[in-house]
Symmetry: D2
Subunit: 363 residues, 4 copies
């Protein structure tokens, strides 16, 4: 398989960077949900390239055409399929990639996997462009979640070592998330953004690229969603998050940092708040214990490697010649995809959260 | 669902800490594979408690009884089910946990998920004891992999901040893995182990616990295994690894560290080695590009939170009284589960690697 | 895969005719359901051999041991695993089957599928004995359904051409089903049973066997359960029913007979009954339209081929000699399995109905 | 879920009778397979309405647009998505169906399932029109099968009780299938077609409709494909066949007729043919034993109910008024869909056969 995910809310993503169109089919959405098209487009605009000096100058109209699944803007319960035409394609930019696979890219592994029949143009089905339909599907799921009091937002937690202030894990407000999830380059502390931009600009000047981390929160999830072992919330979120190109790590709550903590620090004490709701005083668990939600904010991080497409000359192999070679990647590429990745991470989180609720009979 | 995983090699784990027995059913193993029982037991012994001062003193015989699936020690192709009797149970140790859920444990979330009907004794189905059948299944898969030239091993990369030397990612030898995957407390640098043991002992004296990191490598995997997007090798490995209790983070190759690198560092240059095989000069990718294996060592890390069961008094809620309360966990608990987790991580990696090959038509 | 089924209520069946034990793991049962062990055993007794002249004389104690998943007789929500020891095994009866595969059996196809490594003894994993754990799982699901007002029962609709009276499809009473689902050889018209028994006895005297049809009804299902296309109720029921050995056909409502009807006959007119409930005046649809339940009785038939194990000498191949050969099957075999199949069909229907409700958010 | 099927070759069908477009995404096709577009269109033409007096006069261009997955006519291994625009829509024909659900249709059950939000126009996602993308996907799979020596064909075995000659089950020639799978109204005996046409015409004159049976064969499948129990070939084929609207029964080989046979008749004796291949002298098993292929022709039947849309006035309910009512269905409808269903059955068989091979590691 390549691009299908989910049991109750199934998404199937199709297309490649330079195919006629790309799109997504979403099967299993609840019926009767009004979908605000403008709000969907706003999410897609956050991911779209060409709008900021940190990103590629390639422009995409990226207006999805809904083929089915909505009737007068309301979900019918039947599969919802949305298609985005590919219009801005410079196929010739990629002609030499079949010979000289790009380091850090899937060119070589796709060649192995598909015996050379894969569509190499623009990375084909492995292109970051495939995150556009993912954002579409996530934006639809987001509206269904919001109707149930669940908000999803993220910020760029770090780029090239420059860190933003983190979420206060016990007190992530829907208002903060509501601000972040409308921004192109969401950060909690504006000063952090400046430093990050400087790092990106530095990399661009060096014909290089930088990686970073997106931290994402889901607030309003009921406790009791999820399952033990392999059916846990962490497994579910990780299984979609690693589908975002360039994600190389995922952790929840304190995550990797928990490896340095003691139990007395990392254990989150339960208490009844003034309204009689069960809460935890800290939230090192990131809202998940034993794979099941506690009702506290579900918080996770996704680590992005630096964009592999850089303009520097790189060593690689020459496949037809079966000898070592040199490659200089041309074309338009982001020196840092992390800001544009934030809405993609949120989209994946929205889809995962909806699936989690559906699996747990809580939708 | 709770405890089923896999499409081609399906495992179903059952049982709880204090049920009559626990076990695993493995459906989809290739037929005709001789399984060396002693090698399986050796893996189970690495996970078994009671053998080292860092671990709980609870003793388990943990001898699995194979109900079916082997004929004269050879897989028949039909489901292989192995059962381990539960004999050493002190159920009274856990009587107060239904009232006072342990911070950092699944007691409270399981209460929500199962409306209080869950088996609280020893953590029930959420117990770390459920990793015994996982190790069983992994040990079977390991032998099938080894017959195909694939070796899996791991080491304790860190405990409470004390780090072992990491794998050389381009040069992980099967011999090193073969040594590590027989040890109880596997480390590459023996001096690191001493420091780790000191940290564990310190925590024990403080009635506390510590977390850590396991780094695992799979060598010998062919290139071209895996799929784009959600069907990638990372997604597959993460979806089983997060099923190990206490895992809160997973990353591949440079992982979270890649977020601080530049593309020119993180891109692994391809080259033909003297035998004409395609390799990469570095391996920041951890052997996976675009979800598909490169043929270089597949390397990942799993972060473990500190054991939540500590002997210190902790704040929690009193569920029947609906008021805040205090809990002192008694019973036998590990101050650090990380050394015992190494064979569990390897087991999960073995199962995931076999599934990956099966899905890719490479088995 | 071989023996796993279901998405929300997953069953995994393991074991073979002559392995140490057989059993079933059920993952995804709702928590808090009291399970009456005697009622479970009553269902298993209906399937057990050795109790009637129409069946094999092989005796099985068939008392399942519940390893986990029940706490004081109530489901915990964790996987429920039940194991049945194999005690009455005459392995030598089957020694020549590896050489001379039985016509109509899976001996030859299993040999191909598992390259000769399959367990041939008693048919191995293909044995009808594997329906014992299926009946166990079904009996558990049945009690959960009954608590929700849903009753499942069946009758032997035909054996060797001798037909029982069929269900009145618009008026299947839970009382009738409640009688049938306790009987060993359930029929609506007792006179039909006599004729069927005569046919079976005739076949036995001829060292031959006969097939038949089981008709099953599920009453009390809410309308609106199911999905269009591949997620339909028919697809779901068929996908488990064809897992019962010897089933070669499944149809719903008028089924194959509908192929001879006109639309004006086969269309079931809707009406409001005196209580304001929507019903249909006829029920040629068998309670399913467009894959979704109407709320009328769900009725289907399963066709069983005659038992392939017959005492007559038969032509077959000699695999090691690679030449044609002759086989005389010895051992104890049923001249007709259809009466014993009725509880198996009901069990499959119970599991499918529970899965259908779970998938539809109606559990 | 509604419209996703398959594990290794996953199809997702989307759209409704009157949505902007319908289509199918196929994920998991092998790479490097040349797809002849004309051959695909020829299959779609067999299903298309408006070409024969037995069918509806609605015309559809039904030219699929391939959005992705093919590069210069060859599969890339990435998802293949094809879209068919909906152009000939008379939405007003269906306006009263939301009030007055058609007997025998999914109007009422979809209303329950989707709380009235379903798209009622033309049956929405439940429309027979959704079989167009199924035929598309099947036609692609068919070419991949044919390249491996596997041929699929079917004939109209019966309409309204008028039967065609059946396949000779041990001797179904690829040539016969190759003729049948190009015809609009495929029959083995041309005289049977005349009688069937007469029955259809009779029904049309009576403003009524008739049902029928399609018999389908797959020849060239290797032996050893499939699995025991729920993973059997029968389960797999049935699970997709019941997704074709109006299918109410499926059987394999002798199927329901086997219920009247004796074991000595129904058992297919194995023998070595002159080339040393294992065959069976008869083929009552329909090429499947224990869920696994024997290598003999795989033969099955699918029973179709009569088209529910008839022009006669019918009793139904008036949902908004909550009282009984009368309905006269207008619009264009087939008096018999069985001839047009033959290519749909073949398409499903092609998809199932490819999935079966992929699951069995035989692709």
């Amino acid at each position: 398989m390549s691009s299908s995910w989910g049991e109750r809310v199934k998404i199937s993503i199709f297309g490649g960077s330079h195919t006629q169109a790309i799109g997504v089919n979403v099967d299993g959405l609840p019926a009767g949900e009004a979908i605000d098209e403008q709000a969907v487009l706003a999410q897609m605009a956050r991911r779209a390239p060409g709008q900021d000096p940190t990103a590629t100058t390639r422009k995409e109209a990226d207006t999805p055409r809904v083929l089915c699944g909505l009737l007068e803007g309301v979900t019918t319960g039947a599969p919802l399929c949305a298609v985005i035409e590919n219009t801005s394609q410079r196929s010739k930019d990629y002609e030499n990639l079949r010979r000289l696979p790009r380091p850090g890219h899937a060119d070589y592994t796709a060649y192995l996997r598909y015996q050379g029949h894969n569509d190499i143009r623009g990375g084909g089905h492995f292109s970051g462009r495939l995150t556009a339909p993912l954002v579409y599907a996530g934006a639809v799921c987001r509206q269904i979640l919001e109707r149930r009091g669940i908000t999803v937002g993220s910020h760029v937690a770090a780029i090239a070592g420059e860190a933003d202030t983190g979420f206060d894990p016990v007190n992530v407000s829907p208002e903060l998330l509501g601000r972040l999830n409308q921004e192109y380059f969401p950060v909690i502390d504006p000063k952090a953004q400046e430093k990050m931009r400087a790092k990106i600009e530095e990399a661009r000047m060096d014909c290089d690229s930088v990686g970073g981390i997106v931290e994402c929160a889901v607030v309003g999830l009921p406790g009791g969603a999820g399952n033990p072992m392999f059916g846990g919330a962490e497994n579910l979120f990780a299984s979609i998050l690693f589908g975002i190109p360039a994600v190389k790590g995922v952790d929840f709550g304190a995550g990797f940092a928990a490896a340095c903590l003691r139990g007395s620090q990392n254990n989150d004490p339960f208490y009844y708040d003034e309204s009689g709701n069960v809460k935890t005083r800290t939230n090192y668990a990131g809202g998940i214990l034993g794979g099941i939600t506690t009702g506290m904010p579900l918080i996770f991080q996704a680590a992005f490697k630096p964009t592999p497409s850089i303009a520097q000359e790189q060593d690689t192999i020459n496949l037809p010649a079966q000898e070592n070679g040199k490659l200089k990647v041309t074309g338009r590429h982001d020196p840092c995809i992390v800001p544009r990745a934030a809405p993609v991470v949120e989209a994946a989180a929205c889809i995962a959260a909806l699936e989690l609720l559906a699996q747990s009979g809580l939708l």
